[in-house]
Symmetry: C4
Subunit: 264 residues, 4 copies
């Protein structure tokens, strides 16, 4: 798929109707990003991740970034609702907040999550980024707030293996490893989270997720499969962590490794 040149010379305004590159979101392929974002978001709605138009997802296909608009009901989204922009064109822009859209849906506003998704694509080479308002994620940040903590830490749970070892590293975390997810404080305007998200990426170079206090979580991966697997695994761990807290069980434990005795 060769991206066409930006149609509106760098301005943030939607392109004129007859030059809106609607072909970028038109495909019969269910795996095309413009079809996949709606079907993923419908699934996420049933999981309680994108309730009340909150949360969302973005997919990058080489230089093209597909992104849902602001304020849309996530389980009802259509491919025609999708924004498309060129990643390279954003980097060239002097003004970070003036974004070039190759294709804009006529009736919507761009999502405030856009610069956060872009951070995952530019700083981590991610192929997909998911943002949820999962109440398990929010509860974890509230529990950590009472402990004055800016890190979620859990170890010795099998599902931890659902996470990669880190940026440009091969392999996944092991059962005994400690998964560490940084927490950043929420800002009044979602776009203002960007610098803090980027800071967290710098401080935790191997993390694939950042929790946002009293808000939710951003999770990314090299591709849609990995981002979704990591997001599901993390939500599972957040739910488990809240239930462990209710039962008085600690998140970090000392577990003696069990070694196989048999020599095959």
């Amino acid at each position: 798929m060769t991206p066409p040149p930006p149609s509106n010379g760098g301005a943030a305004q939607p392109a004129s109707d007859d030059n809106n590159n609607d072909h970028l979101v038109q495909s019969e392929d269910p795996e095309h990003p413009a079809n996949l974002i709606p079907s993923l978001c419908a699934k996420f709605w049933t999981l309680g991740w994108v309730t009340g138009t909150g949360g969302g997802a973005s997919i990058r296909d080489d230089d093209l970034v597909y992104i849902a608009p602001s304020g849309v009901q996530k389980e009802l989204m259509k491919s025609s609702d999708i924004y498309v922009l060129s990643l390279a064109a954003q980097a060239k822009s002097l003004d970070r907040r003036s974004r070039v859209y190759l294709r804009s849906p006529p009736q919507y506003k761009p999502s405030q999550c856009t610069p956060l998704f872009l951070a995952a694509f530019t700083k981590r080479g991610a192929g997909c980024c998911i943002h949820t308002h999962s109440h398990w994620a929010v509860l974890v940040t509230l529990i950590l707030e009472q402990q004055n903590s800016r890190e979620f830490r859990i170890n010795n749970i099998e599902q931890i293996k659902g996470f990669g070892n880190g940026f440009q590293k091969s392999g996944n975390l092991g059962y005994h490893d400690t998964l560490v997810i940084p927490v950043i404080e929420n800002t009044a305007h979602e776009e203002d989270l960007t610098e803090f998200l980027e800071e967290a990426m710098d401080k935790y170079p191997d993390t694939y997720a950042v929790l946002v206090r009293r808000h939710g979580v951003y999770v990314w991966g090299d591709n849609v499969h990995k981002a979704k697997t990591q997001c599901e695994s993390l939500d599972y761990l957040f739910q488990l962590a809240v239930e462990m807290k209710q039962l008085g069980l600690p998140w970090i434990s000392e577990v003696e490794p069990t070694v196989p005795r048999r020599q095959d």
Copy 2:
């Protein structure tokens, strides 16, 4: 859509069969209110909002009000089950409880929620009103009852942004704003709630929802999209609030605003 004249001169009885305006509920358009109410209610049933025929939803399209009947299984409703009435005709009626139905389903009784939905339409110009029996809403009213409180208050949660600033105001609440939802006491007969709902609307002119103690919640919005978004966001916040209570976390907090340092 031009509403036909009322067919039965102000009486509450259903119109005769050959003059029942069935065309008002017959449409191939899934967005037509007579199709949308059943599909919304089926979705709400899976969320536990309209269990056991409780709860419901009403949509206003200009002067026409579409409303589900009493005692119907909400996930099985059909467009032919829908009542239609003229909002203007109700206002002209001397007797508030004698309602003019343009179209009545043959085998049902009108919903006791009708005057409460009408209050949202007449006093707030709402385009849609949703009533749920969500157990999260009921639990919140029970927790507040123990505190002798008639207000649900929560702040510093991102999902609060899902609410509009108030009647005839533009924009939405911010992250640090306190969302305030009044609680009214339940009455033996649902219709009798109307005056207390209207009082709450007068006292809290900017609210889009009223909790009913030991019963549920009424939520409205300028249109279906906004009513549903606000209802989902509120149910999310009620669930979060109950879980925060179980974890000993307060609903109102002091959170220092996080200010972006970067000057773009």
Copy 3:
């Protein structure tokens, strides 16, 4: 629908294949009991009511009783899995445990719930009886066991209105009424519950449900609609009751009635 004469003269064995009255379970009508039981059970499976082949439902259409077999996966049931028997023929049988089946599925055994469903049909004239293993029901019986109690009592909750006033009475319970559901002790063999269920029906003539300790609940109604509405309402109340217990809120309360001031 005219029931054919019993084909096997009172024996409990299935009828021979060429005389098995398969037409009794063959219909294109989704409302036919042989189609409705599978679709209801599939829905109940998603609610966690009939997990692991537990629970079930039976429908009576005049003299004909339709009933699911033992040990079938409830979300996968087909109309061809359904037993049919004549209610009148059971009453005439001298041996209560020798039941006359008009139609039997070839590969199954009759459900142990059969005599309990029949009790609802014969003693209460019910048109439908639902049996769930809902863990909310089980938890309520466990909480009551610790209080040495054989009655679930709750009042001042709107959803109580989902219940009828009682056998051969018109109208429904009111908001301030106390819903009382008797609890019977579980027996090693489900059929042995029958006499205790019947005793509870005699002692609580107006109840539409009986809880079974550490087991689940039986709920019935004059027809499918009423049985399902009452079963959903009860499960809602059981869930609420467990959550109230976890929050330290009492199930029985003194609530001052709120009286409307306006004279319309």
Copy 4:
């Protein structure tokens, strides 16, 4: 179905493309194992059992074993993703870890669960084995860990009847019986669990399930129906057990049997 001879002489590498026995996973029959594993896993995903590519299921049809690959999204699996191997061929192999695949999907790696599924098939003659990461299972192992216990024990709950009496025994457990499920410690590598699972099978010859600490559960049965029924019943009991713990209710109780008085 006659299995073809192994196509690659005992090596673990996938067969060459033109000899990959794809016909083994191609069938129009929804009950064919290659179709049933994907539909079961899709259902299990909605239950939270196979979140984030965790967990899985395997079916044995005579000598042929069908098994899902590693790291696949369980609700999106297709029949073409399925591995097939000959049970007899594994037993003949000198090296336990070098497995003979009759058919391999081109782009995947074999599941680390494979030897654990094979243990259920060879040591217990199971026809199906299910592995879940259900958080109820994990929470039960965490609660037991605090009690230094390696056994989950529960009695006097009706759903216990969902379990068979044991290997090569007829009939099911009774209401008053104590269900005992052994817990093994988790290992860093899932394959290394095999010897401990086999040990638990030897020590608890009648169990149909083994819990894995901080990981999940393996459940099997003589066929798909029994494995699924036992897995659902166990997950129900794990959920109930966690909720009982939260309410301070014990898992083991003394319950006086209730004996029927009526002599039929």
